[in-house]
Symmetry: C2
Subunit: 335 residues, 2 copies
DNA sequence: TTGAAAGCGCTAACAT
DNA sequence: ATGTTAGCGCTTTCAA
């Protein structure tokens, strides 16, 4: 067994109450006493039990983070930033991977609640009602998702539910205008997971922008929102009529680039490609990818802030912008 | 406040002890009583407090996992597998990112110990002594690292220290022989982090294999063991005398490939490249990468097994093998 | 300024 | 088969 506060107390010749106060820097402890306690603690290599403290104070110092896929670079960047900030505040992280499944997500929430002070749900695939229910039990920060507050105000949003999102609408509209200006007259969109809120946002933004410019929008699905999914998705695209493709994320765009190269379709001469996230290191994509910069790290930082300094009904949004590189060019003339 | 076992007990008209037994499926509870308790629990939406249970039983059901970099695909694959297996056993994961720093690693261990049942240290950058000290406090599984047990047996290895490693020696030797057979007469090695145990293993394997074949080995460092590090490292390679490069991992190799393409050096015609891990999805590298297959997922699975079914002085090793693809070919004749 | 004692939610002897 | 009781390690009233 590890050293307990009782041993410290008796070693220092004080009561446990005093030992506790000294250890926690209570002002009411006289210097000489504090020194004795601290010395005893150092001597016995004392580490306070988080469990005991948590039970007594009702706060654990940990936050639960649930991601759809720990393997996805977008979420690992997010997690890295979150971990970094929370770690600096001496708070631990319990992670869970929902594998894009709402069932698993529910199970994780159940397992975590009770041993965390707050929950971060990244791109939650849960129905609104479940999220509201979770937020009733403990503070929840929703990252990359918004609840349908406008839907007739049917469900009251809990105070302790924060929502941090990416403002992708303007950048996606700009992407479409960018393509239009290059002479493209139709756009194909490679979608992400069907339950993804951000995916729906992207779809909506594209639909709207395309409508305004009178450009048809073709939508194709990907089995998985990653490199492999992007590679496979090329098969579902009508190459004879498509000159420009926008992807749900950079991973998909990268897979697409790879498949296009294999198929002998030149980028950008014959096909323009646009990604989303700007998550790839320079030089990984060839040609370098035109993309919508939406920083997962910033999302992580704002999420961490929402945990560290909670505000009722807190919302924040990460701005995004189109970054034009070498994967988009003037539309080729189709034969 | 959430529902407590006391409320369940009084609602069901039994003592807390009986309630506890019923909830935990003790055989000594008669069916009718159990039903009443379970019904009360369901009615009141009861979730047992992990904290209370942990304090009483001395086991938390959580394991701590410390990685050098949550953003690195090798570690995320490892983590994904670990999470998957442990999650199936209803055990939670506390993650920490040490950012390749032993200082941070120490701090994380301190924060975690006391609230986890076991610790997983992936590619720990800590001195042997610290690891032994940690293992004295709680079970530790060392992944991708071995302690110097042979160094005069100076430090007794704790029983509860498991060590899971990759057996890279044979595959690295084979990589060198593969290059030699293709006519290469010298090898360059792009190393990983200096504190990395596996990096030293790789170096040693290469040195030995090269010595046997009388091939000179040139070693260059990378600032970071990732794509960007690989790209930058090309500058430190003598292109006029090098025909083959082996990299610490696939990320570095990928960066190298990208830099070589920018520099107009053809792969494999002019330069052969070999990676390590086989962590890239098919099609990501161009040309496809000859690499040493050493599965991070398998490492994760074996590590999870060491947690779930602990054995004293447990060790296990993941076999590796050379996978020949398109990035290696006959040595070019240098002018 | 310090100590005694209660209690956080739960489990596990020990009794009955 | 069930109840009583004593903690697990800590914080925090309340008294002194």
């Amino acid at each position: 067994m590890a050293t307990t506060i009782r041993q410290i107390a008796s070693a220092a010749g004080v009561s446990v109450a005093t030992a506790s106060r000294a250890l926690n820097g209570a002002p009411s402890v006289v210097d000489r006493t504090r020194e004795r306690v601290l010395a005893a603690a150092a001597l016995l290599d004392y580490t306070p039990s988080r469990l005991g403290r948590s039970l007594a104070t009702g706060s654990t110092g940990n936050v639960g983070v649930i991601l759809p896929d720990v393997t996805n670079p977008f979420y690992t960047s997010f997690l890295a930033e979150l971990e970094s900030v929370l770690g600096a505040h001496d708070r631990g992280i319990l992670v869970g991977d929902s594998h894009e499944s709402s069932e698993q997500e529910r199970a994780l929430i159940r397992r975590m609640s009770g041993q965390v002070d707050a929950l971060v749900l990244a791109s939650s695939r849960l129905p609104d009602a479940d999220i509201v229910a979770a937020a009733a039990r403990l503070p929840v920060v929703l990252a990359n998702r918004l609840l349908d507050g406008d839907a007739g105000d049917r469900l009251e949003l809990p105070e302790r539910l924060a929502q941090i999102t990416l403002d992708i609408e303007p950048a996606f509209a700009e992407a479409v205008r960018h393509l239009h200006a290059l002479g493209h007259r139709s756009v194909a969109y490679l979608d992400g997971p069907p339950q993804s809120w951000s995916g729906r946002q992207k779809m909506r933004s594209l639909e709207r922008a395309c409508r305004e410019l009178r450009m048809p929008l073709a939508v194709a699905a990907t089995a998985t929102p990653d490199f492999v999914g992007g590679r496979r998705a090329l098969a579902s695209i009508d190459l004879t009529h498509t000159t420009a493709i926008i992807a749900f994320n950079d991973e998909i765009a990268l897979g697409l680039l790879s498949a296009l190269r294999d198929a002998g379709v030149e980028v950008p001469a014959r096909m323009s490609v646009i990604g989303c996230d700007d998550s790839l290191p320079e030089g990984l994509a060839w040609p370098s990818l035109t993309t919508v910069d939406s920083s997962a790290r910033t999302l992580g930082a704002l999420t961490a802030a929402a945990i560290v300094e909670p505000k009722p009904h807190h919302t924040a949004t990460v701005p995004t912008r189109l970054v034009v590189r070498d994967s988009t060019a003037e539309a080729s003339v189709l034969s």
